[in-house]
Symmetry: C2
Subunit: 233 residues, 2 copies
Amino acid sequence: MNRPSFRNWQSVQEEVRRRIHAREWKPGDLIPNESELAQEFGCARTTVNRALRSLAESGVLDRRRKAGTRVAAQPVAKATLDISVIRIEVEERGQKYGYQRIERDAAVPPLAISGAMKTSAQRPLLHIRALHLADDAPYAFEDRWINPDVVPDAMQEPFDSVSANEWLLRHAPYTHGEIAFSATSATPDEAAILGCPASSALFAIDRLTWDGAASVTKVRLLFGPGHQLRTVL
Amino acid sequence: MNRPSFRNWQSVQEEVRRRIHAREWKPGDLIPNESELAQEFGCARTTVNRALRSLAESGVLDRRRKAGTRVAAQPVAKATLDISVIRIEVEERGQKYGYQRIERDAAVPPLAISGAMKTSAQRPLLHIRALHLADDAPYAFEDRWINPDVVPDAMQEPFDSVSANEWLLRHAPYTHGEIAFSATSATPDEAAILGCPASSALFAIDRLTWDGAASVTKVRLLFGPGHQLRTVL
DNA sequence: CAGATTATTATGTATGCACATAACATCATT
DNA sequence: AATGATGTTATGTGCATACATAATAATCTG
């Protein structure tokens, strides 16, 4: 029997996936090296490398120089969440997007905020509270602090029609950030804003972005009961 | 002035990132094509391609054949969550992992389950309920249904010391899956198991995995109040 | 001029080769 | 036997070249 040839990296990847799935290569197993696979598959080593590198990125393989490539013993599923602007998120659900600014002022933030943002405890920050709507119903409550030292232009923005969520993405570049997801019980205030019973279980996204060593903005987004963040594995 | 040369793809990537961050290339802008950049950077087109491809994967650039490469207008932040085995998760927090099986039986699932898993409404599935502990305190409550047609070996497993969470990853290959995050109010039953007040806001992860067209398992993981799922941007 | 055909162009990828680098193995030295 | 130098090996990457492919632009044709 003449073995089929795998002449592009996608088909090599598929074949490797198949062998792992078929348990020909079991979790923890060392697989043949690139040169051997290239010979077997009838393609260049570069092509095999491309396929294996991609599989390593998605967590299926563990690769180490000299040590070789092995099937991930503990296959960590990598779920990639696309965090976009809320307006886009709502529109992609086929709903009408709406926005309401609730509050905008400069204020000295609670210590938890200035601490996390590494700003001076007395320094007033720009504080925005707003509601995002989907089909005229409350969708997400945004509570945001902006560092005016990093984004001075924000002080001139009213954020009454364009959300800070959207404005910042366009005007405030950042280098890195942290994001956390959690569940929280609605305070009476939050419940009133989101139009849900007090103590409802809300889905919370906390995000903190940095431009180098300085924090840009810290935001908490609260989603009403029933909200799901979904993706594929 | 002699321009610096960028002789590896990481430094090319860095330079592109810098230009975008410095607004030399603004969101939506078409950037020079690979050949031009290769010439400017004094490297091969392959190297530029590697850098730009990687940036496109992370959502910073939009690339289309012939149309060229442009800076993403709506930079979607891609948060990658590593979903691993709960035991590993706990151990990585430096805590002692514990496991308790609460229930194991074959039962006809609610319609919501058989519907989602696309199994016959009368078909009994393997039902496991278990508690994961961190430093002897409740950490996560696992409520799982397993499709015995796809994972017959599971019927022989007691799941009293090794969690289904871990056993399945080792013994039940899957091709794809869905995952959803949400917040939910603790039922009295759940509250008792997790040792928290009834109606507490719990963080829920729902996962459904498939092997081709057949569902492998559907699981709901509930985490106690205060639990956060965090990652970097 | 509408619609189909063809050319052009930028990205996508395969290949052979070379060398870099990390990690491990081996052997020599104290 | 501990320590350090050296070699070996598998992956990681760069380069030149060639061709593939998708999408657009230009051209031809009825």
